[in-house]
Symmetry: C2
Subunit: 437 residues, 2 copies
């Protein structure tokens, strides 16, 4: 029996429900799926390609459930402002710069950073989502994205009818693509009226698809929504019938116990974005309380304009440590809970938990190789602890999506990254000018 690929001599962190870790292990891939896992001896080397990773960690690719990849064009442009004034300046820059062409460039930049850092699936919300999908396909990574909904003309000047048409066209174009998970993406309750929220949701439902929005990111947003609708953000979404297992809510920083219970009951997922929430002074989400209540917590980088990078390892480290320091509980979030956020819970939130999120026979071979020959990786008593508390994105050596190698020894196989960086640098002066004066 000849496999397409065998990765052998691995410290295999499966991220399965039992937390299985295998030393001296190997994994065989056929048709993009994992077909066998076992000791290196059991699995052997009968494959078209055999990659001996020399004892390095092999684990599932990370899943990022909230991002605006193309916003990397504006990294570091607007600093030290709170969300609301920050957003006004960001929208000014976006309005001046963004076209389908520049979004494609920005998406290539952002997705390249993610993929090099071991993120194999990302949920992305941005203008001209078709461009981000195409950039993802070119890189060979999975992207959950689709039509955005916002009141008013927005950066792309779209009318309400055009938005529905665009979102529908996205489903038509990418519905069957192996790398694209289509959905609809209304911006947030403070920028999208209830009717439009429902329209976006109905469209997603008709396609059996994902639906994601920003929710309860700042105190000001909650005050705004409460004043407008007489109920807080989560209650408002619940009232509109928008919370179920297909829902991914980004942030959820300002929610009370009852709202946590609503989220748990509904099966909606939360995308926690600690890097962005700290930088923008939005606050610290009540993650331990959500976990205790049974809410599905996943992890996002948010965009590099708030971040200022797309570093899932930093998000992971913060998810595991920030809440310990904030609640004064040393086990507020455990290593197992943190790992789950970026693996199985992320896959479940994207509706593909049966195919992604762990390394197990039958699942797609989305997986990453982590170098362990760095001074910060030695000694290693527990690979899991190492992943959560010591790893950085620069430790990611190889990345596979569906068994196809898309990063080889820290280099992308799909695109000319140097060319992208040059194009972005050439655009930078116009970007700087866009917010001047």
């Amino acid at each position: 029996m000849t496999a397409d690929l065998i990765v052998t001599n691995a410290t295999l962190v499966t991220a399965d429900a039992a937390g299985t870790v295998l030393h001296g292990a190997a994994l065989a891939v056929e048709g993009g799926r994992i077909v066998r896992i076992g000791s290196a001896g059991e699995i052997g080397t009968a494959a078209r390609d055999v990659h001996d990773i020399g004892g390095a960690i092999l684990m599932p690719g990370l899943i990022n459930t909230h991002c605006h990849a193309a916003d990397s064009l504006f990294r570091g442009l607007v600093e030290d402002l709170a969300l609301e004034p920050w957003l006004q300046t960001v929208w000014k820059a976006e309005g001046a710069i963004l076209t389908p062409q520049t979004v494609r460039l920005g998406a290539a930049l952002g997705l390249a950073e993610l993929l090099l850092g071991g993120v194999t699936s990302v949920m992305d919300m941005f203008w001209y989502p078709r461009q981000t999908a195409l950039a993802g396909i070119e890189l060979g990574m999975r992207v959950a994205t689709g039509g955005i909904f916002i009141d008013g003309p927005g950066v792309d000047g779209g009318s309400p009818e055009q938005r529905i048409a665009d979102a529908t066209a996205f489903f038509d174009e990418f519905g069957g693509h192996e790398l694209i998970l289509p959905g609809t993406f209304p911006h947030g309750t403070y920028t999208v009226a209830p009717e439009s929220m429902r329209t976006s949701r109905d469209l997603a439902d008709r396609h059996d698809a994902l639906w994601s929005t920003h929710a309860a990111e700042t105190r000001a947003e909650v005050a705004d929504i409460s004043a407008r609708y007489g109920r807080s953000v989560i209650r408002h979404l619940d009232q509109l019938g928008l919370l179920d297992t297909r829902t991914v809510l980004a942030h959820c920083v300002w929610i009370d116990d009852e709202e946590i219970a609503i989220l748990a009951r509904s099966g909606a997922s939360v995308a926690h974005n600690p890097v962005s929430n700290l930088k923008l002074a939005s606050g610290i989400a009540r993650i331990p309380a959500m976990l205790a209540a049974g809410v599905r917590v996943t992890l996002g980088t948010d965009g590099a304009i708030s971040g200022n990078d797309l570093d899932m390892w930093l998000a992971l480290r913060l998810a595991a440590t920030l809440h310990k320091g904030f609640t004064l509980q040393a086990d507020a979030v455990t290593t197992g809970q943190a790992l789950k956020m970026v693996t199985q819970a992320g896959a479940d939130a994207l509706g593909v938990g049966d195919r992604l999120g762990s390394l197990e026979p039958g699942k797609l071979a989305d997986m990453i190789v982590i170098d362990i020959d760095r001074p910060h990786a030695v000694p290693m008593f527990d690979p899991l602890t190492h992943i959560i508390y010591s790893c950085t994105k620069s430790d990611v050596r190889d990345v596979y999506v569906g068994g196809r190698q898309v990063v080889r020894n820290r280099e992308l196989t799909g695109i000319d990254l140097g060319g992208v960086l040059k194009e972005v640098s050439a655009l930078a002066p116009s970007i700087a000018r866009s917010i001047a004066g």
Copy 2:
């Protein structure tokens, strides 16, 4: 006029008081000191060595004011416990494993990680400090360390008389060494009686030297000291006459407004350790209040047994963002304030602010080169923003201490790192056994 070294084609972040940044700049070094700074054209290339860094960032080496480098031997060994129970287990492992030989090995491991990450000066507190000093000298980095003081026999079995003799011997051996800044290091008010605190201080004073201790790290510690002495930790230290410009206090998480005023008045420095404080659930230090009051705030990694690495860039990122999220103020700590913590303020805390902490003519050439050809570094609107919010330790390409290159293209020039990693890995099974059962 021929210099020893010219680094040219630099984006020069001087970290001087005015925040000067020069593009297309160069810097000349003679006798280990910076002698000229200017445009690449002005400085020319008349030097024994000319390093063209291709537009990369050149900035001062980072200064880490609180570390236990050799504790890297125990990285990831004890997890998800609060400080007090954690410390009991740590001390058990240390007691079983530490000898002068293993401390030398652990110090080489920890200091190598720091130096590769751009830390050129570190204040380190650990058993057998002579070994850490020797490891630092071998690597070519600056280490502030010296005799430790603790009640009881400690890991090294020292008597009170022996501790004084050891600390004195350290001053004698390293007093004039260009790379070593000697001092005395009592562990903390909860482990060192007032008389011994004073003894350690008198010894430091006689040598015109540094004095550093842990202070107000946890609520439990403050309660303990208040119960024993009828006053909180900072007031206790103040009452004992231990606070002045030579004092560096690690942590200071649990202090009130009056204690902040005492610190500001005394000129003592605080070593903020956000990575460790979060992981050990110690809490979040009131850094914005300290800065507002004029307290000198510096930055530390703490040890890798709490961290779990020695990543000054993570500490820097957290110093700049954690307090924004915690206080809900988007300018709670500015980029300029954050940069100062790891440069000039760090140098001032170590008593060498006239020689280190910025790149200016007359100062020692402790400097690092930061790659900017990574996806997370493009575009770059402001090098300072980039340093604080996007850089990671893996972006550090070259490191110079006193003009001597100690890291060249991410490789140490002073020691065989592979050999150190192998030795540590060989010791790991004994370390794991030391806390079993």
